[in-house]
């Protein structure tokens, strides 16, 4: 351990100017508080990134007492020892003078920006008192809890359960949810894609070269460069992934579903589908096929602006490359109210080409329990789930008040139902909101409505690193230690074979911050739930996770990422052969060399369900995959769509010094024709107005967007004063998007109509 001087570090991080400007400004910030000299490890510590939700395995070390150099952990092969711009800039967040390192209490009106530094003890005592009060007066269920998914949500949701509230929400319905719900309905489990081994990839706006998921981004590039895979991209915008594609189609926003349905039509009508696979593993094919009959490429062409000839040819090419081909089911599933049907239609095309558990197709993750069953021995250790079972709250969840969302409720919930329920008081009124590392003001829609809700509650608590746009409306701001300052429990990172990794502390904690597990444990104990928190620290918990296997724990901590066995895909004969050769006790392969007879699906029928009775029972007419026309904009409006950029993460990184320096604004993409018609030139000030709000920004006149569409990278244009580097820069997407929830999947729809004018 070496001693670091904070001043030298701040200087090294290029933040010295900001430190001066902010000195004494924002209460509770590093600039205002000062900090003890830092200590960090000069030798590399293997850990886990947290600059986005992918959580790549990283290796970080302090260099020359000045910076933390972060790279990928080379032991994690599919991640290649690589890290993106966000991951590499993590240290600039760590030492940011604007970061909050002392608990804060609101002293002005909510959102007014007046704060007072308080002790943790005072924060816990006052929050606990208020929570008890609300519980007595209105019931525990009237306090909702939300958190970004990952390590945090477990701690926050345990507290919710102990307190007695069933209302817990993750980022699920604001971003990736629909593909999860669709997979659950069709396959009975989540599925993964094997992009790296694919020979033909159809992509509906899954921009993996900007919304970087290291393993998948590398897989896609590997497929393109090493396997000569063909990549076909449908996206209204010329994204980076579109620019690297063999074919790019500027599809009409929200109409992707028509193409996905037409692909299914052609696969069936032209007899290109894998009949043996369908017969063996699929239920509901007849209903599905009958429904697909009308969805011809000619029909799709009229809706999408993609020619029938191209759609038909692409379907044939896909079938020809099968089973080592994939129709990518995407990530940010917020394009249309018909997300559930879109993602099911995409999965259906994968099912028809029989790519399940085949190289280059889709597959289910192999955690230790499953893997060991095939190996006939404990070749991979299982993690224990230590802890005290907290009784489940009996009150009904607010999002299942509308029964169609019961599938989402068990997966992450319909986040935006917090706002609906606040307004309607149904099934019961809401009085408090406790959140951790979540920023709905950026990631949800209708910013004005969120502001109104936050201002109307009895208690708002935010745990975060900065006073985020949402945290600005909190009564209490609880500063969490960054990921570089904390240890956490071991996490499962299994893919085709079991793997584990762990987050470990790289530098000593700056200021008076704490890791989330400690914050919510201590608050829980203050509330009187000490029986639910049997361990004092994370190391005890880690040891319990590995069943007290000290050697295993040491190995995971030293190597940072440990994988067991060989990759296994159940219907890939070569992989099954390698697997049975490796493990003498392994289950014998079938006659065809695969484990096909062991393929089971946790659906009611035990098969892949192209038609779902479960869904039909929730909403009549939704059991089958059906096209429904939706209105996403008015005739005199332009489509407004958003996407991710490689240097920022949704609502989280726009104030991080190094990343703010790289990009602090989101100019609005406008087609030259559209701009000319309104007298707009590149760089001009423009105004976008929707039914939800109005935003002023800058024009980026570019041929890389459809004439009927405008585009902006999301997460910019914060409106609270505390995020000095991000506030007022660029347009705020959430202020333009009206509130709309997609049926079944509960997705928060992110496409709408806007009027564009020169400002």
């Amino acid at each position: 351990m070496i001693k670091l001087d904070r001043r030298a570090f701040l200087k090294g991080a290029g933040a010295s100017g900001a430190a001066c400007a902010f000195s004494g400004g924002l209460p509770g910030s590093i600039a205002a508080m000062g900090a003890e000299p830092l200590k960090g490890s000069a030798t590399a510590v293997n850990s886990m990134c947290e600059m986005c939700s992918t959580r790549c395995p990283i290796s970080a070390r302090v260099v020359d007492g000045k910076t933390v150099f972060i790279e990928g952990n080379k032991a994690a092969k599919s991640f290649g020892g690589k890290v993106c711009a966000r991951g590499g800039a993590g240290h600039s967040l760590l030492y940011d003078p604007q970061r909050i390192v002392k608990p804060l209490k609101r002293v002005g009106e909510r959102g007014e920006g007046k704060w007072q530094e308080i002790s943790w003890e005072q924060a816990y005592a006052e929050i606990a008192e208020k929570m008890q009060q609300i519980k007595q007066q209105h019931g525990a269920e009237s306090v909702v809890f939300s958190s970004k998914s990952g390590s945090e949500h477990g701690y926050v949701f345990d507290l919710a359960k102990a307190y007695g509230s069933p209302n817990t929400f993750t980022h699920f319905s604001l971003c990736p949810g629909a593909y999860g719900v669709a997979a659950q309905v069709m396959f009975g489990t989540k599925v993964k894609r094997d992009l790296g081994n694919s020979k033909y990839i159809i992509n509906f706006g899954h921009n993996l070269y900007e919304g970087i998921n290291m393993s998948e981004t590398r897989g896609l590039m590997k497929a393109q460069m090493e396997k000569s895979a063909k990549l076909v991209v449908f996206d209204p915008r010329f994204s980076v992934v579109a620019s690297k594609a063999d074919e790019w189609y500027p599809v009409k926003p929200g109409s992707d579903i028509a193409i996905a349905l037409a692909l299914n039509h052609v696969l069936i009508a032209d007899n290109l589908y894998d009949k043996a696979f369908v017969e063996r593993y699929v239920a509901g094919f007849e209903q599905f096929a009958a429904q697909m009959r009308d969805y011809t490429p000619e029909w799709a062409a009229s809706l999408t602006d993609v020619s029938a000839k191209d759609i038909r040819r692409i379907a044939h090419e896909l079938a020809k490359a099968a089973p080592h081909a994939v129709v990518d089911f995407g990530h940010r599933n917020t394009f249309t109210p018909e997300e559930f049907e879109l993602r099911r239609a995409i999965y259906a095309a994968n099912v028809l080409i029989g790519n399940f558990e085949r190289k280059g197709g889709i597959y289910a993750g192999k955690k230790a329990k499953t893997y060991n069953k095939f190996a006939g021995a404990d070749v991979a250790p299982s993690l224990a789930k230590p802890g005290v079972k907290i009784p489940s709250p009996t009150a009904e969840r607010i999002d299942t008040y509308d029964k169609q969302f019961s599938l989402v409720a068990s997966m992450g919930g319909v986040y935006q139902s917090i706002l609906d329920t606040f307004e309607t008081g149904k099934p019961y009124p809401i009085h408090g909101w406790i959140m951790a590392r979540t920023n709905p003001m950026q990631t949800m829609t209708d910013r004005a409505r969120i502001e109104k809700v936050l201002k109307g509650l009895d208690l708002v608590v935010a745990c975060d690193l900065y006073i985020s746009e949402t945290a600005a409306y909190a009564d209490y701001m609880l500063p969490e230690s960054t990921y570089l300052e904390r240890d956490e429990e071991i996490a499962d990172k299994s893919g085709k074979n079991p793997a584990y990794y762990v987050r470990q502390q790289v530098v000593e904690v700056i200021g008076d911050t704490k890791p989330a597990w400690q914050i919510f444990r201590e608050l829980g104990i203050k509330l009187g739930y000490q029986d639910y928190y049997p361990w004092d620290d994370i190391h005890t918990l880690q040891l319990a996770q590995v069943h007290k296997d000290y050697a295993l724990l040491k190995r995971i901590k030293t190597e940072g990422y440990v994988s067991f066995g060989k990759p296994l895909m159940l219907r890939e004969p070569k992989m099954v052969a390698d697997f049975t050769a490796e493990f003498a006790t392994a289950i014998a392969a079938d006659d065809d060399g695969s484990y096909g007879s062991h393929l089971k699906f946790k659906t009611p029928s035990g098969k892949i369900e192209l038609y779902s009775d479960t869904v039909e029972a929730l909403v009549a007419g939704r059991g089958n995959i059906v096209f429904r026309d939706v209105t996403l904009k008015q005739p005199d409006e332009l489509y407004f769509i958003q996407g991710k950029v490689a240097v920022h993460t949704n609502g989280a990184t726009h104030n991080v010094p190094m990343l703010a320096n790289l990009m602090s604004d989101n100019a609005v993409w406008i087609h030259p024709k559209t701009a000319a018609a309104r007298g707009i030139a590149d760089g001009d000030k423009i105004r976008l107005t929707s039914s939800a709000g109005s935003e002023e920004g800058k024009a980026l006149v570019t041929k890389g967007i459809r004439p009927d569409t405008v585009f902006a990278y999301m997460g910019f244009g914060s409106k609270n004063r505390e995020l000095t580097r991000a506030t007022g820069k660029g347009i705020h997407c959430g202020n333009l998007l009206p509130h709309q929830t997609a049926p079944i999947s509960g997705m928060c729809v992110h496409t709408t109509g806007v009027k564009l004018e020169k400002a």
Binding site: V68, E71, K82, V83, C84, A85, V240, A646, M658, K703
Partner: protein, 190 residues
């Protein structure tokens, strides 16, 4: 001096994500407002739907015939034992002749140290520790390859020998050591 360190930038693999830029800033303590290394994504060029972007690495080209060395009055700009052009901070008087003379406009005055600065392939930081340059280490898509082109078995030597590459502004005669694999428009070169 029998080493010839070169950098190869595959513009097919480059996604303009700036991971290289960030890693370089961190490793080499590059202040805000200036950059040793950037990837500029420009375009789109062409007409819809046949558009393309260019992905260009902007950094010191490590010229074999380097104007910066020639014009430096104090010897602060010099070629290191490993052949890499670097800067002796103690000798730099801040005259900016090198900044003006640079064929590729990639030299700048460091606002903190007040001396000339630029990419030196991490020679004094990572190379000294036996590691690859920061940008190469982190590049998500393996778009960068670094090594000694004089070693026929090296990956860079093999790439230069077998792949179509180009270098920027060769007509100016500086003999740059950054090689680029041109992007195949509309797709990825195999």
């Amino acid at each position: 001096m029998n080493k010839r360190y070169v950098m190869v930038h595959d513009e097919n693999k480059c996604i303009g994500c700036q991971a290289c830029n960030v890693a370089c800033r961190t490793e080499n303590d590059v202040p805000d407002g200036v950059a040793r290394l950037q990837v500029r994504v420009e375009g789109p060029f062409g007409e819809m739907p046949n558009l393309h972007y260019s992905y260009a690495r902007i950094s010191c080209q490590q010229c074999e015939d380097a104007a910066c060395i020639k014009v430096c009055p104090t010897g602060a700009a010099y070629r290191n034992d490993d052949g890499i052009i670097t800067i002796n901070k103690d000798k730099c008087v801040g005259c900016q002749y090198c900044v003006a003379a640079c064929t590729y406009k990639v030299r700048f005055m460091n606002p903190v140290t007040r001396v000339a600065d630029k990419c030196n392939f991490c020679t004094d930081t990572r190379l000294k520790r036996g590691e690859q340059p920061a940008c190469v280490t982190v590049c998500p898509t393996n778009a960068l390859v670094f090594g000694d082109a004089n070693d026929a078995s090296s990956e860079v030597a093999q790439i230069i020998a077998t792949r179509a590459t180009y270098r920027d502004k060769v007509h100016l005669g500086a003999e740059p050591r950054v090689y680029r694999i041109p992007a195949k428009k509309g797709g990825i070169a195999s």
